[in-house]
Structure formats: structure tokens, C-alpha cells
């Protein structure tokens, strides 16, 4: 359940009233998920982040993220954990 997946921020929306922090649209292996950026105030458009249960939990270095992402694919196949 602690699995988090790396993805690239492809859009950022400002926080609406009552929302905690901005929201990003993150491209995770080609599918787009919405993730709160409340915990990653340094994340910008184009950055790579780790997404867990609807929240970006850290910003990643792009090169390293790509590597993680490629081998995670190999290791995990297409089964979600």
C-alpha cells in the first residue's frame, strides 16, 4: 500500500478556495492522474514527482526517475500493488 509511482507534472492548477495547495496533472506511464501538490511546494510544471494515494510526496531528479520508472515496469509488470 506504500507503493508510490513516478510521473511527470504536465499541468498545474492553482488551489481553489478551501483547497490545501495546488493540484497537478501527472503523467504516470501514459495515464493522467490528478495529484495534490500540497506537500511538494517546490514542484513545478515539467518536474518529476512520486505520487502516492493522490498526493505528490516528493520531487525526483528526472534522469533517476526515468531509470526507476523503467525498471519498476520490468519488476512489477502491469499488476498494481
Amino acid at each position: 500500500m506504500c507503493l508510490a509511482v513516478p510521473g511527470k507534472i504536465v499541468a498545474v492548477r492553482d488551489a481553489e478556495e478551501e483547497q490545501i495547495g495546488p493540484r497537478g496533472v501527472v503523467d504516470v506511464q501514459g495515464s493522467r492522474v490528478e495529484a495534490s501538490l500540497a506537500m511538494t511546494p517546490d514542484a513545478h510544471l515539467g518536474d518529476w514527482v512520486l505520487v502516492h494515494a493522490g498526493f505528490a510526496i516528493t520531487v525526483l531528479d528526472e534522469a533517476e526517475a526515468r531509470e526507476t520508472f523503467e525498471s519498476l515496469n520490468l519488476a512489477l509488470g502491469d499488476e498494481p500493488t
Binding site: 500500500m1 506504500c2 507503493l3 508510490a4 478551501e18 483547497q19 490545501i20 495547495g21 495534490s36 500540497a38 506537500m39 511538494t40 511546494p41 512520486l50 502516492h52 494515494a53 493522490g54 498526493f55 510526496i57 516528493t58 525526483l60 531528479d61 533517476e64 526517475a65 526507476t68 523503467e70 525498471s71 519498476l72 520490468l74 519488476a75 512489477l76 509488470g77 499488476e79 498494481p80 500493488t81
Partner: protein, 355 residues
């Protein structure tokens, strides 16, 4: 994935552990348990190196009393339960949430606590209860969601708190001392939040090497190799081979959010009893979101299903296939205990990959 590098790491590990008798490394994280099996890493390791699964699958460590309270809430006609998927099939004292759902109860699987809050706002006539279980990786999201619910004045959203903290559980295992543990493969994504430094007390006070690793095969092997080196050199400190994602201090924003909303509390773990200060409860100003207070439920006793040894499995005392029910009356299709239900449960992983 670099096959040469993998080969080399396996050789290093084999050389380091050769002639040492049994070396036992505990991986505390359920995601590690599954990744180690699925990637085949487990099968590459020398026979005297035993990886044992710890109490790190959130569903497996959730007490029966918690589950029964969730079921009691699901039975109420005005309540909608929102939960991570794995909780749905865990058998409680009187059936599972899945059975209740088939009988008409509203039980919705969500991917994020934000989805539960959204549902609450869309259905103001219903009381929406999010089953907020999980470790340090998951808790900040619950905290952020509570803050948002408070800011928006949502009155029909609640959580049933079942959060767990990893380090107090490790202390309990080490204090019991009946399972020899030579080192810990520390969970990468818990560490993203709490930081690599958080493991220092375990390394220093108990003289146990702690290595933070991610989830891809090469990285897990690197973590294991570093552990074996420390073990052979009789060292015990914290190393971080997952610096792509994990910093020494963790995610400070996330930690502050958790601190704003929650305060440490005693917590019951399945078959491990109450571990002091190993859980989190809502602070006074957010207590109205606690389903126990707001909806009048409480956690009953933690009674394991007859014959189920999940408690021993999650404490490393038993490999799943040593449970008399494993693969007989307990299978992923007809699970007896949570360790066979959860995709990250040690019993489910053994059944799928090692049977």
C-alpha cells in the same frame, strides 16, 4: 535494469554471507515483500540469507476490532464506507465489508482520501467514513484531507483512524527479542516522509544496521548488499541507497501537516497487542472528524480467526507455509486472515510466488 550489475550484487552478497551461518534481514514494508518476490530477487539470494517479512502491510496489522467497527458502521443505512481496496475482503468477526456490500451496504473503494471527501461533498445526506489506515507514507494525505474538510466546513465526512507508526513496532519486535534480526531493509516510501535519519535510533540503540532502499530489483539488492557488509563488519548505522527519493530529513511539509492534525497515541496491532505511541489520533480541534466520537463506535477486542497465525507471520516468527491452514483452508480466494487477503500480505505473496 542492468543484468551485469545484478549478477555482481548477488555475488557480493554471496561472498559476504559465505560461512556465516544464517543471516536474517527483515524487510518491514509490504511493498518490499511483494517486489522481492515478484522481481525474482528473493530466489537469487544465497540459502543462508533469510529475508523475513515484518509488520509492514497496513491491512495485515489492522486489528480485528477496527475491522468490526468498520463493519458496524457499514451496517448503518445512512453511512457510506470509503476504503482502500485491500480492506474490503478481510474477514471480520462477522463477515467482511465485501459481504456487506453484496447485501446492499454502501462500501466504495477509493484511491485517495480526497476521493472520499469529494464523495462526502457530493452526497451531503450521507455520512461518509474513510477507513484511514496506513503507515507514515499514507498519513500525510489523510492529514491534508482533514485540513481541507475543516476549511470547507464539511460536516458529513469522518475518518476511522487506524494509522500506524513503523518505528515503535520495530522497537517492540527488538525488545521481544525472540526472532534474531541482523538488520533492517527500511521502507523507501515511509522514508520519503520521515527521512533516512529517522532510523538512527534503531541502528544506534539496538546495534542493527538499517538501509533505506527503493523497490526496483537492483536497488533492493544494493540495499541487501550494504546490509550484509555492515553485518560482516559488525557495524550498525543508517545507509540510504534510495537517495533519488529519500532525503535525510524526509518531507518536512508532509510531516508538519501530520503534526498539525494528529498526535501520537497508543495503538492496537493485530495479534501484537497495544504498542505505546505507535498510532495517531486526531487533535482536539479536529476530533469531530473521528468516526468513533461522531458516530459512536468503538474498537472491540482483537480476536484472530481460529488457527490463523498472521500475528506470528508479521513478526517474523513463522514463514507463511508453516501455518497449518496455508494453501489448505486458507487461499487468496478463501482467505482466513488478512495476510492472505492483502496483495502485500506475506501469505498472499508466498502463495502466489513460492508455493
Amino acid at each position: 535494469m542492468n543484468r551485469d550489475a545484478i549478477q555482481q550484487l548477488v555475488e557480493t552478497i554471496t561472498t559476504l554471507t559465505a560461512g556465516r551461518g544464517r543471516v536474517q534481514i527483515m524487510e518491514i514494508c509490504g511493498t518490499h515483500t511483494v517486489s522481492l518476490f515478484r522481481s525474482g530477487v528473493k530466489s537469487l539470494l544465497p540459502a543462508n540469507l533469510r529475508l523475513i517479512s515484518g509488520p509492514g502491510c497496513p491491512v495485515c496489522v489492522t486489528s480485528q476490532g477496527y475491522l468490526d467497527a468498520a463493519c458496524e458502521l457499514a451496517d448503518r443505512p445512512d453511512v457510506t464506507i470509503c476504503t482502500y481496496g485491500d480492506m474490503v475482503r478481510v474477514p471480520g468477526s462477522s463477515g467482511s465489508l465485501a459481504e456487506r456490500r453484496s447485501a446492499g451496504a454502501k462500501v466504495t473503494v477509493v484511491y485517495s482520501p480526497r476521493d472520499a471527501l469529494k464523495l462526502a461533498r457530493q452526497t451531503p445526506s450521507r455520512k461518509v467514513v474513510f477507513l484511514s489506515v496506513g503507515f507514515e507514507t499514507t498519513t500525510p494525505g489523510s492529514a491534508a484531507t482533514i485540513l481541507e474538510a475543516a476549511a470547507a466546513g464539511v460536516e458529513n465526512f469522518f475518518i476511522l483512524p487506524g494509522h500506524k507508526l513503523v518505528i515503535p513496532a520495530m522497537r517492540t519486535l527488538l525488545a521481544a527479542g525472540d526472532v534474531p534480526i541482523d538488520g533492517f531493509l527500511c521502507p523507501g516510501h515511509v522514508s520519503v516522509v520521515i527521512g533516512a535519519n529517522a532510523w538512527r535510533p534503531i541502528a544506534q540503540e539496538y546495534h542493527k544496521p538499517c538501509v533505506v532502499a527503493g523497490f526496483e530489483p537492483q536497488n533492493m539488492l544494493e540495499g541487501i548488499a550494504h546490509l550484509c557488509r555492515q553485518i560482516t563488519e559488525n557495524q550498525a548505522y543508517v545507509e540510504n541507497v534510495y537517495s533519488t527519493a529519500v532525503h535525510d530529513e524526509g518531507n518536512i511539509v508532509a510531516r508538519e501537516m501530520v503534526e498539525r492534525v494528529f498526535t501520537p497515541a497508543d495503538e492496537t496491532w493485530r495479534a501484537m497487542g497495544v504498542i505505546p505511541q505507535s498510532g495517531l489520533m486526531l487533535r482536539e480541534e479536529y476530533r469531530r472528524f473521528d468516526a468513533r466520537d461522531a458516530l459512536g463506535v468503538s474498537f472491540g477486542p482483537d480476536v484472530s480467526p481460529p488457527g490463523c497465525r498472521c500475528g506470528d507471520v508479521i513478526q517474523g516468527r513463522l514463514d507463511p507455509n508453516q501455518c497449518a491452514l496455508f494453501g489448505k483452508s486458507c487461499t487468496p480466494l478463501q482467505p482466513v486472515g488478512p495476510c492472505m487477503v492483502s496483495s502485500e500480505g506475506a501469505c498472499a505473496a508466498w502463495y502466489k510466488y513460492a508455493k
